[in-house]
């Protein structure tokens, strides 16, 4: 029974990892660009919601809205004024710039919030659960988190494949040199893509704050989880990212069930194993 429980909790945890991964997946899909500071931006989202709701005492709904608006705006400006300038055939500059951003963000957070581990208390959400059997229960918080992940990924799928904006994003992804000839503006499309991805990063940060303890140095581990979920699922497949997150989550909770010291290690090892067996991921990109 403990194993079934571990798998179930792992699936729900996978929702969080899919949320971490969704923004990374979107940015890679449109710009072939990997943001090393991705995990640190998630942590920024977590500190923002903590500041708004706990320190400033704002209504949680207003707090969430502020986080999402701020993250999206910051993402847009960052892409427009910094990252767009280093995009190109050479992969070194974007990696180094985002690596530099990662160090700045981590140390900036350390300066502002100290190294103390923090968490956003959610009151009855944390303690409520739905008992499935005598020994297995699903917590309300993990359940809502999983639903959020499914909702976010469905929304991204809709925007990407059903809207005019999505058509521009896909066109830029397919051929960034032709889009400007058709009247598109790559710099603007990239900035919008990053704003969307940053919005999702904000959502991920809010759930990080509610679900686990975090500190200024928590970013790199989140980046690695996000990256693993994307690769396991298959590059460029958004639903694959959800599957990748779930597999990673299950690997971690089952590993933790074997020995508490194996939680993170088990996740990494399953990732490496799948990389060997299925280098293109479980659900490789389908052509549309």
């Amino acid at each position: 029974m403990v194993w079934i429980n571990a798998v179930l909790q792992g699936v729900l945890l996978g929702g969080l990892y899919a949320l971490f991964a969704a923004g990374l997946s979107l940015m890679f899909g449109v710009m072939r660009f990997v943001n090393i500071a991705h995990g640190d931006f998630i942590v920024v989202g977590a500190y923002l919601i903590l500041t708004f709701v706990i320190s400033w005492g704002l209504n949680p709904i207003i707090g969430v809205a502020l986080v999402l608006i701020l993250m999206a705006a910051a993402g847009y400006l960052n892409q427009r004024f910094v990252l767009n300038r280093v995009l190109g055939k050479d992969i070194l500059p974007p990696i180094l710039v985002t690596f530099g951003l990662s160090i700045i963000v981590q140390n900036g957070l350390l300066e502002l919030f100290s190294a103390d581990s923090r968490k956003l208390p959610t009151g009855t959400w944390e303690t409520s659960s739905l008992a499935l059997t005598d020994q297995i229960a699903v917590g309300l918080l993990p359940f809502l988190m999983f639903l959020t992940a499914v909702g976010v990924i469905a929304a991204m799928q809709f925007v990407f494949y059903r809207s005019a904006l999505g058509r521009m994003l896909r066109a830029t992804s397919d051929d960034p040199e032709i889009v400007p000839l058709m009247g598109g503006n790559n710099a603007r499309i990239f900035a919008i893509a990053t704003a969307l991805a940053s919005l999702v990063v904000g959502i991920a940060g809010i759930w990080l704050a509610m679900k686990t303890n975090f500190d200024p140095a928590a970013g790199p581990a989140r980046l690695l989880f996000a990256f693993e979920a994307v690769i396991i699922g298959g590059l460029g497949n958004i639903w694959g990212t959800l599957l990748g997150g779930i597999i990673l989550g299950v690997a971690q909770t089952v590993g933790a069930q074997i020995d508490a010291g194996y939680q993170i290690l088990a996740g990494h090892l399953v990732f490496l194993l799948l990389l060997v067996l299925r280098p293109k991921g479980l659900l490789p990109k389908v052509s549309h």
Partner: protein, 323 residues
């Protein structure tokens, strides 16, 4: 020979001679700083060879620093190897372990390779924390007898340690230079300039890249083994630190100039100069470093030496072939 090459060669040669006799003019604290500098120079040369010439951007080189350190401790403690064979053994074993890790990491391209190497480094860190005989998560100290075997008395030991560091630093520069002037160097510079073009003229780019990956892993392992011999204590977090062994190293290469031999040398000097001035600023010092790295990428991604070279035509370690 022109002044453009004579002046830099004279500067680097002076530095080399000064370093070769450092124990006779430097005090203990300076000597320790120089050893650290020489270690960083070696790490930077290796990262530069990998990223600057083969385009394999790794943010997981701490895997090999940590492996080298741990393997050296294990060889010295369990196999009873003396220091020098222990260092060499650690380097060889690190290169051997890099074979399977490279085989896995090479399934990923570009930026994904970078993060993949980081995952692999994390796996080694988490494994090291599980090995009870090497101290688990809290780490282990090198037995006093190992350090004692380096020489009679403190001064002799420090002298030996310094010359190990000097050889590691000097060989890292010399080996990269020799490599780049060889047939392999032609293949490497071809890959650096255009991978597709290199393939069309018959360079087996994948094989060259893999060999360089293994070679840099081994030398990085050697440097890691020395670093932890000097520290006398190893913990998983210190051995596999992404900040210490990758972020700082990347910073050195980037400000100095990626894709040149002189760049890492200049970068090491600048890095230590900055650290002497600003290390007390704590988090602000690290933020400043991040900002400088970003600024270099936005202003002139060739770094200081790259910019100087293109404006003034300076060159010390000549690797170009001119017709």
């Amino acid at each position: 020979m022109q002044a453009k090459t004579i002046f830099p060669i004279a500067a680097f040669a002076t530095g080399f001679v000064a370093l070769s006799v450092a124990p006779f003019w430097a005090d203990r604290a300076d000597l320790r700083l120089l050893m650290e500098g020489l270690s960083y120079l070696a790490l930077a040369q290796m990262w530069n060879l990998l990223a600057g010439y083969t385009g394999l951007v790794s943010v997981g080189q701490q895997a090999f620093v940590g492996l080298g350190g741990y393997l050296f401790f294990a060889l010295a403690m369990f196999a009873g190897l003396p220091v020098i064979p222990g260092l060499i053994g650690a380097a060889v074993l690190t290169a051997l372990i890099a074979l399977p890790t490279g085989w896995i990491a090479f399934r990923l391209n570009g930026a994904y390779f970078a993060i993949g190497t980081w995952v692999i480094a994390e796996v080694f860190r988490l494994f090291a924390a599980q090995i009870g005989s090497l101290g688990g998560g809290s780490g282990i100290s090198l037995p006093v007898t190992v350090a004692r075997s380096l020489g009679e008395g403190r001064e002799a030991r420090e002298m030996t340690m310094y010359y190990i560091a000097f050889v590691i630093g000097a060989v890292s520069v010399g080996a990269v230079w020799a490599l780049l002037r060889s047939r392999w160097g032609l293949a490497l510079t071809a890959i650096r300039d255009s991978e597709i073009a290199a393939e069309t003229v018959g360079v087996d780019t994948r094989r060259v890249k893999f060999l360089i990956y293994i070679l840099t892993a081994g030398f990085t392992g050697l440097t890691g083994a020395f670093i932890f011999l000097q520290k006398l204590r190893i913990t998983p977090d210190a051995a596999f630190s992404v900040n210490d062994w990758t972020a700082f190293v990347i910073f050195i290469v980037v400000i100095g100039g990626v894709g040149t031999i002189e760049g890492p040398i200049i970068g090491t000097i600048l890095f230590f100069a900055l650290r002497q001035v600003a290390a007390d600023w704590g988090t602000w010092y690290l933020m400043l470093m991040g900002a400088i790295a970003i600024a270099v990428m936005l202003v002139d991604k060739r770094g200081l030496w790259g910019a100087l070279r293109s404006r003034l035509g300076l060159s010390a370690f000549v690797t170009e072939r001119r017709l």
